[in-house]
């Protein structure tokens, strides 16, 4: 068994890989080894893994129903038997609500992660590939969106579209694509004039095929690093919208809205506002630690930034 393992690692560490697959896997393995030496990044990875498990198994992990009210058990302090983190003003178990709330958080960041970067990637690659006026106009528009403070633009959008989870996600996605467009454009400019793109063009491929099939894949790594680092910011904005009552609506257990509900009891029943805030803090710290470590590993040039 252990000789099998060591055979695999020697194969992965081979400085002269014989196939493209071996080279790629080898690269990934080395990156993993480097990342393992960064304890903070591993903590981040663990936190994100715990979040995934929480979201997946919430119904089995949660001791109580997150929505059903129980007014006889209002505002119980933490460590009350059966209510580890206490209960809120409707007698709902805070731990259960946090566990179920992880699903909402994950849903929001998941949806933002598959929309905003894709749109940014599209704008950035098109601008970078065609250059000239297309580039000028697209980048100007990007700059305009960058000139808006994210949260305030999201606020204005939600104010217009009406509160709710879908609109909150839409607003966050609409405000977070510009940095991806910038990153993708910069990468596109470096590959645009390369010989292999010229070769594809000579084979008769049109712009759409070149951009989708050959330029975008080159931009992916840097965009992915950015996405990981941005997830923490998305969590914070979503929670902020929830806190202001513009995001996910009660009685759904969204963490930001839970803090807002606990605000009334801040000085007497501190735990109602504190616990969901801790959850937000830990999860976004997890994404930050992971993103930071990923960047150090995958992009050594900017290590430490």
């Amino acid at each position: 068994m252990s000789t099998g393992m060591s055979q695999i690692t020697t194969w992965l560490r081979d400085p002269n890989p014989t196939s493209r697959r071996q080279a790629r896997l080898g690269q990934a393995f080395m990156a993993w080894l480097r990342m393992r030496r960064n304890p903070l990044a591993m903590v981040g990875l663990a936190i994100v893994a715990v979040l995934l498990v929480m979201a997946a198994f919430a119904p089995w992990l949660a001791p109580h129903d997150p929505i059903t009210q129980d007014l006889s058990n209002r505002l119980l302090p933490p460590l009350t038997p059966g209510h580890l983190l206490g209960t809120d003003d409707f007698g709902r178990d805070i731990l259960s609500r946090i566990l179920y709330g992880s699903r909402i958080t994950l849903f929001i960041i998941g949806l933002v992660a598959v929309t905003a970067p894709v749109f940014g990637l599209l704008v950035g690659t098109v601008a970078g590939y065609f250059g000239g006026w297309t580039d000028e106009i697209l980048m100007r528009i990007t700059d305009i969106f960058l000139a808006f403070p994210k949260l305030i633009l999201a606020l204005a959008l939600v104010a217009v579209l009406g509160p709710g989870m879908e609109n909150a996600i839409l607003a966050i996605a609409l405000t977070s694509w510009p940095p991806y467009a910038r990153v993708a454009r910069a990468e596109t400019l470096t590959v645009r004039t390369s010989d292999y793109i010229a070769a594809v063009r000579l084979q008769g491929a049109g712009p759409a095929r070149i951009i989708l099939g050959h330029v975008m894949p080159m931009c992916l790594p840097s965009v992915i690093i950015r996405v990981t680092l941005d997830m923490a910011g998305v969590i914070l904005i979503a929670a902020g919208l929830g806190f202001l009552g513009l995001g996910v609506q009660p009685p759904l257990p969204e963490w930001g809205a839970m803090i807002s509900a606990g605000r009334k009891y801040l000085f007497e029943q501190w735990w109602v506002a504190t616990m969901p805030g801790l959850a937000i803090f830990i999860v976004s710290l997890g994404f930050n630690l992971l993103g930071d470590g990923l960047r150090d590993v995958l992009d050594p040039r900017s290590a430490g930034r």
Partner: protein
């Protein structure tokens, strides 16, 4: 360097200024365009919100004409831009006051808070970043990194609540919500000349040190918490810039000359770190204006952030859009300012 070239830097400066002005105007109009589009798709009828729902058809038609709502959209946008350029963002639906007048009253409180927070952020963040950069991998570096990442991960409204709970509720070290104690609020209104709208400056100018001290006890917590967020960002960037500069050859030169390490870092490297750091400080200042939206609601701080959120809750769209545009303009202005400062600090950017 020669005299024959003397005219060219001037024309170059003029050309650059024109370029800057053009891109500024373009971004500003773009900003207006976005808010215009957002405002036009609101399901709220602006005429009804002004006149109320008991208005007659004739009144409504007249008001529509007056607001220019019968014109084609592009013309409406033209009017909107023209008015905005003159500082006219419409009438606040709730108070019937021009939005710009209300913003002018609320803005100084935000400015005061964000400025003090940035001062904290720079005063703590720069030394922390330098310390981390000079000892990479040390425990000091790890702590600065972790404290910075924690600042990145903290929901600002929750941090504000926790701060209130601990320092106001439990320890009683600071004043609670608001800019002053209720007793002083009236006094400030009537007994102090409001020159800047910033309490710390106005009370100091009036020599009302009792009021000044009370204002300090109120601002210290929100400014400290926002300052922590700003420090998180500034220390991380300082560390990275400083590491980069310390690897440069001119640093070796300074060491070869026998300069003490303190001077190598704080004079030779720091002057170069300042160049990119200016942009970072401007960005962090701008993001504090944004962070103020949530902080101000927590601390009952009557600033632009409170103004926008209150307007939002009241469906007061002209106020929301006016506030959004003003914050956007401050963003653009800060970017421009950092560009100018950049050129002052970096001799290479001047030619």
């Amino acid at each position: 360097m020669s005299d024959t070239l003397a005219a060219s830097p001037l024309t170059r400066t003029v050309k650059r200024l024109i370029g800057v002005a053009a891109s500024l105007l373009f971004t500003f109009i773009g900003l207006l365009f976005v808010t215009f589009i957002i405002a036009r798709i609101v399901p709220i009828d602006p005429v009804l919100s002004i006149l109320g729902d008991r208005a007659t058809d004739a009144q409504i038609a007249a008001e529509r004409l007056r607001l220019g709502l019968d014109e084609p959209l592009w013309k409406q946008f033209g009017i909107y831009v023209w008015q905005a350029l003159q500082g006219d963002f419409g009438i606040s639906i709730r108070t019937r006051e021009p939005v710009i007048a209300e913003i002018a009253r609320f803005f100084p409180a935000t400015l005061e808070l964000a400025t003090l927070a940035t001062i904290f952020g720079v005063a703590l963040g720069v030394p922390a970043g330098v310390l981390a950069a000079t000892k990479p991998g040390s425990w000091a570096d790890q702590i600065v990194r972790l404290v910075g990442l924690m600042g990145y991960s903290m929901p600002v409204f929750w941090l504000g609540l926790m701060g209130l709970l601990l320092f106001y509720g439990v320890l009683g070290w600071v004043g609670g919500p608001g800019r002053l104690d209720a007793a002083y609020d009236m006094m400030f209104e009537f007994e102090v000349t409001q020159r800047s709208g910033m309490i710390l400056i106005d009370t100091a100018l009036a020599g009302r040190w009792d009021m000044f001290a009370n204002a300090i006890s109120h601002i210290i917590l929100p400014a400290g918490l926002l300052g922590y967020l700003s420090m998180a960002y500034i220390s991380r960037m300082t560390r990275s810039f400083m590491m980069n500069e310390l690897g440069q050859e001119y640093i070796t030169t300074a060491r070869v000359k026998g300069m003490p390490e303190r001077r190598v870092i704080w004079v030779h490297a720091m002057r170069n770190v300042m160049v990119p750091l200016i942009t970072v400080v401007a960005l962090s200042y701008a993001s504090l204006l944004e962070g103020a939206v949530l902080t101000e609601t927590i601390f009952g701080w009557p600033g632009l952030g409170s103004y926008i959120t209150d307007a939002l809750m009241a469906n007061n769209m002209p106020a929301v859009m006016g506030g959004t545009i003003v914050v956007g303009m401050v963003y653009i202005g800060l970017n421009l300012l950092s560009d100018i400062l950049y050129k002052l600090v970096d001799p290479r950017a001047r030619t």
